[in-house]
Amino acid sequence: MKFGILVNEGPYQHQASDSAYMFTKAALEKGHEIFRVFFYHDGVNNGTRLTVPPQDDRNIVNRWTELAKEHNLDLVVCIAAAQRRGILDENEAKRQGKDANNIAEGFRISGLGQLIESGIQSDRLVVFGD
């Protein structure tokens, strides 16, 4: 089956991000396809490479990056939600006149159309949120 995933909550604050990761990983291990993981609302904070969690805790951002590398996942951060919350890639930082960017490896910034497309193209769109 082809799944689209929507992550609506930030890392560490809420379990939604952990659950989304575990679901995505399990689905891939079972041989399913993940069309796209879309990050919205505070979920965009899963895409910053500047998090420094305690050593004895899971690293949520790196976990997504590694899963994306291993399975060639499409991790998309919503641009409108990202701009509000200060998640920028190199292009956006330049365009907005900001002095830094923070997007993590394996993530890309794009528009909400990518979420709708994920709903259209996937057999199931699974929402992880509050």
Binding site: G113, L115, I116, E117, V127
Partner: protein, 138 residues
């Protein structure tokens, strides 16, 4: 938008109050972008989500943008199936007269102006969810 021939039933399920968190505002942003994809779109409002459609909203005291007028534009985006959960309304002492009178122009009926909102029982809400292809819950 390479796959415009695929038409799925999308339901946006709005569960949160309009202010106090950003869910309602960002949900509405998805609806407006999604309208460009020519899908079969419905909106449902349950729990505190029913407050999103409340008439005469004012954000003067809280310093947030009052975006309630955007709901009135939904008809122009061909988003005209708006369902409100009766039980959630009853629990909050609201009737349809407390809601914004959202309307759309029916192009199959000489552009007659018709109401977009219908009040649904919990059973009807469940049936509505059952028939969807995609439910985006905010």
């Amino acid at each position: 938008m390479a796959d415009e021939e695929v038409v799925k039933k999308f339901l946006y399920l709005n569960r949160k109050a309009p202010y106090g968190s950003i869910y309602a505002l960002e949900s509405l942003e998805v609806v407006l972008i999604g309208a460009a994809f020519d899908q079969d779109v419905s909106l449902a409002f349950i729990d505190d989500g029913v407050y999103q459609l409340k008439k005469d909203q004012s954000t003067d005291g809280i310093g947030m943008k009052n975006f309630s007028s955007t709901y009135r534009a939904l008809g122009d985006y061909d988003v005209n199936k708006i369902y409100v959960d009766k039980a959630s309304m009853d629990e909050r002492g609201l009737t349809i007269d407390d809601l914004m009178p959202l309307t759309y122009e029916d192009e199959d009926d000489d552009y007659a102006e018709k109401p977009s909102i219908s009040i649904k029982s919990s059973e009807e809400m469940a049936a509505l969810m059952e028939e969807q292809d995609v439910i985006l819950s905010f």
